[in-house]
């Protein structure tokens, strides 16, 4: 992909890199400084949050991650409910979003005529452009009441005693509401990536399948999707990363109660939400440091997820460029 000729030409025209034009040397240096600033900024973020979180890490050790009690007044700081809430809401969101996104992507690439595909694609892009806080606003006043009265109450009444995930009173503000709003927010993202990799499936692969007597669906499901799978997984994981770090919308609908409940209808709490809610009011150095440690954990989880996704996407890109 890189043009070896490019470097070669440069090298020939600018006799030697070390002794080249003085202006160009200065230019290269300036560019390099800009380039260096990004890793430096990243390091600085890690360092700054790490330093602030250090007192809490020293004070609580691993118990911070495994502790289930969060009671700042009693100086009890166990972050497990938040980690649980973040992971569960995001994974649920991915479970809702992935099939829908892949369905949309298939519809747009394989089925819809162009006059229909273009506006739908634009509409989903629009969905991605809506600010998180507006999703939250809509969640509070529209989604949560609807979930509560049309979904949760009947389900809880009929199945609550038998199926644990439906048990308990229907609060509306719940893990379920959080997962649904997150899924709406990551759908445009996953479907865009899926659409891109599906479009990149070579036409001859599709034609080979059709020519062998595959139906359109068989062609898509057995040939196009497997071909695009690594990219789709990469997109899904990137979407998961988004969901894990999402703050405003989920804070506004998840109910913000630090419990670990089996029921989807019970309120939950995420790492991002506790930061948004309590950081400004945190009194005492240890409380603040505990919140900093939560920020550090959230940072760590999303970084790991993103690195993983990025490596996958890059591998796909490399394969595509072969």
């Amino acid at each position: 992909m890189a043009n070896p000729a490019d470097g070669g030409l440069m090298a020939r025209l600018l006799p030697s890199r070390s002794k080249g034009n003085v202006q160009d040397q200065f230019y290269r240096l300036a560019l390099l400084l800009f380039g260096v600033s990004i890793p430096l900024l990243f390091l600085f973020i890690v360092l700054r949050i790490g330093t602030e979180a250090w007192p809490a890490m020293e004070a609580f050790g691993w118990g911070f991650i495994t502790g289930t009690e969060w009671n700042p007044v009693l100086r009890e700081f166990g972050a497990l409910p938040f980690i649980f809430g973040t992971v569960v809401s995001s994974v649920l969101a991915l479970m809702i979003a992935l099939p829908l996104s892949v369905g949309l992507a298939i519809f747009l690439t394989e089925l819809a005529p162009r006059w229909l595909a273009a506006p739908i694609a634009f509409a989903t892009e629009l969905l991605a452009a809506i600010p998180s806080v507006v999703y939250g606003l809509w969640g509070i006043f529209v989604l949560v009441p609807w979930l509560r009265f049309t979904i949760q109450e009947p389900l809880s009444r009929h199945f609550g005693d038998v199926i644990p995930i439906f048990e308990g009173p229907a609060y509306g503000f719940s893990m379920m509401a959080g997962a649904v709003i997150l899924s709406i927010m990551i759908i445009p993202f996953i479907s865009a990536v899926t659409r891109e990799v599906l479009t990149a499936v070579p036409r001859d692969q599709r034609e080979a399948a059709l020519a062998l007597g595959a139906t359109r669906w068989e062609m898509t499901w057995q040939v196009a999707l497997p071909y695009a799978l690594p990219g789709i997984i990469g997109g899904a994981i990137l979407g998961l990363g988004r969901a894990l770090g999402e703050t405003m919308a989920i804070t506004m609908v998840i109910g913000n109660r630090p419990d670990i409940a089996a029921s989807l209808f019970a309120p939950g709490y995420t790492m991002a939400s506790v930061l948004a809610n309590e950081f400004a009011e945190a009194t005492g150095a240890l409380y603040l440091s505990a919140l900093m440690e939560i920020a550090l954990i959230l940072f760590g989880i999303t970084i790991v997820v993103n690195i993983f996704a990025q490596l996958l996407v890059w591998r796909v890109a490399k394969r595509g460029g072969r």
Binding site: E207, A208, G213, T215
Partner: protein, 285 residues
């Protein structure tokens, strides 16, 4: 354009053939007198407002090799892809007239396209194996069409198809390795095996050897020669030597029209139409 003209430098000489083919060729009756596999009647085809084919009427004899030749853009590939309706994927297409496969219209309204494509195998210009194992590539067609029951039958069918495609000996020890590890020529023969596995009646080949080196090309040509005893083969090629070597009948397309169709030997040595002669002798502008 230059590439188109190149092969014609040899046209004044008689193309070299295997002796068997020659004896057979001279005994060939005109295409119309044979049992026909594919028959086009006044078939026209448009991409949007762009007419690609203009009333093509053509009889393709069964269990013979018919070559479609002509300069690029002459419609030969479009015609080929009209037979198994591969062009259906392209938006804005339109056709008039009809093509029949063993007397049955390809374009009738209730035609099952999937069934049609199953009975018409296709080999593409660029070999396009799926990124799966060699075995899975051949097994794909029988699997989606549920042609066999059980692993044993599938094994047998895969082996038979690979043998017919003259690939078995080269790959029998690594059926489970990726098809992408094969050489270009092997990949193309794998694609032929894959097409054979669904027992098609007609095989369409769209410049099957254009991306291959001479040795691999020769293998494909030998294979075509073998296969014609059981299958009707239509091959699109811009290489006139190749058309002369492998085919029994040749159709010359120009600007979306069928100019001339006849026995290969006759068409290359004694064409009826002036345009055909101009093309095969390289006087083409």
């Amino acid at each position: 354009m230059n590439a188109e003209l190149q092969p014609s430098t040899m046209a004044p000489h008689r193309p070299s053939r295997s002796p068997g083919a020659e004896a057979e060729a001279s005994a060939l009756p005109p295409a119309r007198e044979l049992e026909s596999a594919v028959e086009a009647t006044d078939f026209s085809f448009w991409y949007g407002s762009n007419q690609a084919l203009d009333s093509i009427s053509l009889t393709v004899p069964a269990r013979k090799v018919t070559a479609l030749i002509g300069p690029s853009g002459c419609g030969k590939s479009t015609f080929l892809r009209s037979i198994n309706r591969m062009n259906d994927l392209i938006p804005g297409i339109r056709h008039e007239g009809d093509i029949t496969l063993h007397g049955d219209s390809v374009y009738r309204n209730d035609r099952d396209v999937v069934q049609l494509r199953k009975s018409v195998g296709m080999v593409f210009q660029k070999s396009n194996p799926f990124p799966k194992s060699i075995y899975q590539n051949v097994a794909y067609g029988p699997k989606v069409n549920r042609l066999v029951r059980g692993r044993a039958e599938m094994d047998e069918l895969v082996e038979r198809s690979l043998r017919r495609a003259a690939l078995w000996d080269e790959v029998k020890d690594r059926l489970d390795s990726s098809a992408l590890g094969l050489s270009g020529g092997q990949q193309q023969r794998l694609c032929i095996a894959r097409a054979l596995a669904v027992s098609p009646e007609v095989i369409l080949m769209d410049e099957p050897a254009s991306a291959l080196d001479p040795v691999a090309t020769q293998k494909i040509e030998e294979l075509i020669y073998e296969l014609k005893h059981e299958y009707t083969i239509l091959i699109v090629t811009h290489n006139m030597q190749q058309a002369a070597r492998v085919s029994d009948y040749t159709a010359f397309f120009y600007m979306g029209r069928l100019i001339e169709m006849g026995r290969t030997q006759q068409l290359f040595t004694n064409p009826h139409e002036e345009q055909t002669e101009a093309y095969i002798t390289g006087r083409f502008g």
